[in-house]
Amino acid sequence: MATLSIKDVRKSYGSVQVLHGVDIELEDGGFLVLLGPSGCGKSTLLNMIAGLDDTSGGDILIGGRSVVDLAPKDRNIAMVFQSYALYPTMSVERNIGFGLEMRGVDADRRKRAVDDAARLLQISHLLDRRPANLSGGQRQRVAMGRAIVRDPELFLFDEPLSNLDAKLRVEMRTEIKRLHERLGTSIVYVTHDQIEAMTLATKVAVMKGGHIQQFADPRTIYERPANVFVASFIGSPAMNFLPGRLVSDANGVRFAASGVSVALQAGKQPVDSERPVILGIRPEELKVAGRDEASVTGVIDVVEPTGPETMVTVQVGDQSIIARLPPRFAGRRNEPISLAVDPASVNLFDPGSEQRIDI
């Protein structure tokens, strides 16, 4: 167990800079998820924490100790790779015990440690097999066994679930969460899957183009995204964005656009009336409006029942938004619809900078 500090870490290949001064602090026993689209630099950052890639600047501390000049083997970390990277020529037992073998742990203690890890991951019956004779889920478990057997200060996971089918992915996600709660070891986890980020993390760093867009706990990221990119990247279906303007009058502050009028909870400072803004509403924050509470009015375009809920695409002015409505929603295409929205749940963004605005 250890804290992780990443201080102004930069990386460039030649003249191309792929990471621009990244700062992250992870508490002892925390679960950090690096989240972002392909090419955002998350895997590069993970490789630099592991020591597989050199940093071009800045410092990385594990447990308060600077590791940038240490070889991967001296950083006391363990890593689970996307491809699992099991040694194909060795049995499962030797695969799991390889790290201990390299560190000169004697055969008896090694055997005991491997058995413990195997029992924890329910792969004791597979110890004699070769990786080629295992299923995807079993390989995943072996890869995790290899990581936990060494009892490192920090676990690194590089998109560990992306090669599994959907059902197994959910299962292994739960397994990883359980493992983290049981072992209490700090984890850095790279993924482009926002559900994994939301379910697993204690801290999420959303990255894009080598910059950290927002670094916060999952709830904050979801409810109070720092900018339009974070807001659109997290959540499925994505957040609805409606361009419009702020109106300040005797009744208070509201957001206005064609077919939309949402009362806002304003703070103390004066609001710049007529200021153009983008309103962000999560699909699940929209409800069918009762009498006198309609904020958004439009025409139903598509109705998609999914079972537990109904996704309704609504044409509002020249914009299209999605509402997550109850399963027995009865509306039909081309019918008018009025939706209500909780003022506390909406987000405002500046159209120019796309940054969050708090009023």
């Binding site: 592991a50 020591g51 597989l52 790779f81 491809s83 040694y87």
Partner: protein, 281 residues
Amino acid sequence: MIESKRRRRVIANIATYFVLATLSMFCIGPMIWMFLTSLKYEADIVTQTMQYIPRRVTFDNYVAIWTQSGFPRLIANSLVVTFLTVTICVATGTLAAYAFSRFAFRGRTQLMLGYLVVRMFPAVMMIIPLYVVMRGVGLVDSRFGLALAYTSFLLPLFVWMLKGFFDSAPKELESAARIDGSTRLGAMVRIVMPLARNGLVASSVFIAIAAWNEFLFALMLTTGQGSRTWPVGLQLMVGEFQLPWGVLAAGGILSILPVIVLFAIVQRTMVQGLTAGAIKG
């Protein structure tokens, strides 16, 4: 319609087999002929009418070449030179191929290309300068010198072949090993080498056979019995006025034996190695 399709297929099959059989005869025929000749008496070899299958079988030719010429010495020299060549290539080539495969360093592409360019020039072009160099350092007429000369044109081939095998070993495996406590060299020896084993065997056999059969360099760089290899020795047995066909054939058969034995042992590994990556494993 169906009938004619089938007929066409049968004809195509026959044609295919005909071509294959002809080519096989062309390749294997001389060897069979050499083997048959080695079993004949001298009088039965040069005859008015061709004798395909020997009427009388004798092993005198084998006894003659083994006892009356320096043939055992030639074979021993060839073995030593081949062994040295393979050892030098494996020791240096493996490290070079790994470096080419894994590290991005200045001049990497140019070096790789240089290795390839060396192979493009005919060996004859290299012989004279190589002879001068070898004489300068006193390695003419030595088995080590000959092995070095072979290395000069076999090492590039070995490195290129092996680099391909190293490239196909996933990099993440080494990353995992390095995190697990290996050094880079340790990860290469423990993880990558076992994976590239088939490729290593295939490449080694390839250069071993090339070194074993080499003639031109051996002719130029050896002058005495001490370092002469079998291809040269065999050629020198062809006199101006006499051609001991039977003995030469026996020598030829004896000299391809090691290659056949070697190939039989590593055949499976080698074929696996050479076809690796051709289909998904």
